[in-house]
């Protein structure tokens, strides 16, 4: 994989900020888009834009085919058995809300428990909290060890006969911890508890096979894997998707409607009320083809070497504290320097053309656990280079003394 060549596929990487070349280390928030994805969006609107599934006319057929073949591409990409296992959503957040609502309606009652982990993003906390509020159920939280790994022993002990579902991140968006998802699933399944895995930070960075993991639900966002915003994916096992009620009502998700009674459409349409983002889905399919051609193993290896290199170089800085030192990490490095506030570091780095994320990264409970004001987070994509890490380090060596 030739990164310098691949960089040319991303027009925004040629942009300058404050007159300096952009160093984009905020890929965990969103990724930049290659030309082929941009072209696909343009083609969608200039060549085959028509509402899908309901038109008999030519353009509608083309658009429907594009959307449905995108579903197949997604299914193949994550190793789903069939395209009907794939529900398009607005993103990871909506996918989790869908399951929290629909699964919760059907299977969670008073006194039941939902088990999450202490390293979840707000989007994998709040929907469950809302469900527990509605149903008088209990949200339980498996703790994180000081090094950023999940406390598996505590997790196992917290799986009780009242636990109705487990929801856990594959990769932490703050710590970079890669959770042992197969072990999590196995432990939960041993007690017949289904598991949702939040793949927002894993799918863009490593090969993922949902059947190998044996997850009951697996969710991710398109825009974090070089696709456009507004499209995400919910993978679900057929028996679960069939067992839970629809999330939203509307067009597309119905089979037959009378004022007395409505019957619902088959999978996956039962969960896709209204006009879906069929331009976004085809753009996502293009993005998946793009990374597929490069190879997810190659991308993972490249990003792993960036993480190793950046971690080693960060340690050159006095007072460096890396938050999250799990044995297996992916995608992100969070850190603090001495007593410097992350906001200050982020603002000064920005002035030098370096885009990092600062703050609590929508994982406030985790930040509170570490007793810190937030972190500075650098997160990598396939187009980042060691040279950029060197530029980042040069900037750090200028701004850290200013703030110390």
């Amino acid at each position: 994989m030739n990164v310098e060549d691949l960089r040319k596929d991303f027009p925004i990487l040629q942009e300058k900020v404050y007159g300096q070349p952009l160093v984009y280390f905020d890929n965990a928030a969103t990724t930049q888009k290659p030309q082929c994805v941009l072209d696909k969006i343009m083609a969608g609107y200039t060549k085959y834009n028509a509402n899908i599934h309901r038109g008999v006319h030519y353009l509608s057929q083309l658009a429907t085919e594009a959307h449905e073949s995108a579903r197949q591409v997604v299914a193949d990409f994550i190793g789903a058995p069939d395209r009907t296992n794939i529900v398009f959503t607005k993103g990871t957040t909506e996918a989790i809300n869908l399951i929290a609502f629909s699964f919760g309606e059907q299977f969670v009652g008073e006194g039941d428990e939902v088990l999450i982990t202490a390293m979840e993003h707000h989007s994998n906390i709040v929907p469950w909290q809302m469900l527990c509020g509605r149903k008088k159920a209990v949200l339980r939280v498996a703790p994180v060890l000081e090094n950023g790994e999940l406390d598996m022993e505590a997790f196992r002990q917290m799986l009780s006969e009242r636990t109705k579902i487990v929801s856990a991140a594959h990769v932490s968006n703050v710590l970079g911890t890669v959770n042992p998802v197969k072990e999590i699933v196995r432990a939960a399944h041993a007690k017949k508890i289904p598991v949702l895995i939040d793949g927002a930070q894993s799918v863009p960075h490593m090969p993922v096979d949902v059947q190998d993991i044996d997850a009951d639900f697996y969710v991710f966002s398109g825009h974090k894997i070089y696709g456009s915003t507004g499209v995400g994916v919910l993978y679900g096992k057929k028996e679960w998707l069939e067992a839970i009620p629809p999330y939203q009502g509307g067009g597309e998700m119905i089979a037959n409607v009378t004022f007395e009674r409505t019957t619902y459409n088959e999978l996956p349409y039962k969960f896709e009320a209204g006009t879906p983002d069929y331009i976004g889905s085809t753009a996502l399919a293009e993005a998946l083809r793009y990374v597929g051609q490069i190879g997810m193993n190659e991308i993972a290896a490249h990003e792993q070497s960036l993480i190793r290199y950046a971690t080693a170089r960060l340690k050159e800085i006095d007072g460096m504290r890396i938050i999250g030192e799990a044995g297996q990490k992916s995608g992100v490095i969070s850190f603090l320097v001495g007593k410097i506030h992350p906001y200050d570091l982020g603002m000064l780095l920005d002035k030098m053309g370096i885009a990092v994320r600062t703050g609590h990264h929508c994982a406030q409970p985790l930040i509170d656990y570490y007793g810190i004001p937030g972190t500075v987070r650098m997160s990598f994509g396939l187009y980042n280079t060691e040279k950029e890490i060197d530029m980042f380090m040069q900037a750090m060596k200028r701004v850290v003394p200013m703030l110390n």
Partner: protein, 140 residues
């Protein structure tokens, strides 16, 4: 000095600073030299929680003037807190309420007051005016 004279003075001081590094260096100095925030004021009612950083603000009346004390956990934010206090503290509620704060924009630090930064500064400016309004009401 009037509030506007104080604003103009700050604009003058910043106008000699050439690049952003000097400007930010100045903010950091201002943050470091801000009078320490009295610990008894560090209470939840005085905390303005931003998404990125926290700001504390205390206000009281002294001989008809509003006196502010402030603090932040981020030094750049604290620098701007220091400037806001320098400009607004020690003036009557009427003066504070009738002021348009133009200096932040003119010294090129407007981005720190943008709502998207979510650092608590915008809420602080609003809160300073709210205090002035409240004190004005009790005077009448």
């Amino acid at each position: 000095m009037t509030i506007n004279e104080l604003q103009d003075e700050i604009i003058d001081e910043f106008s000699v600073l050439e690049d952003w590094m000097d400007k930010y260096g100045m903010l950091i100095d201002l943050g470091n030299t801000l009078e320490p925030f009295p610990e008894e004021y560090r209470i939840p009612q005085n905390l303005i929680e931003g998404c990125q950083s926290r700001v504390w603000l205390h206000a009281e009346m002294q001989q008809g003037n509003v006196v502010f004390a402030g603090d932040s956990d981020a030094i750049l934010v604290k620098g701007i807190v220091s400037l806001l206090i320098k400009v607004l503290s020690g003036h009557t509620p009427d003066e504070i309420l009738n002021t348009e704060l133009y200096f932040i924009d003119r010294i090129g630090l407007k981005e720190h007051l943008s709502p998207t930064r979510s650092n608590g500064l915008l809420a602080m400016v609003k809160q300073m005016k709210m205090y002035a309004l409240a004190f004005q009401a009790t005077q009448q």
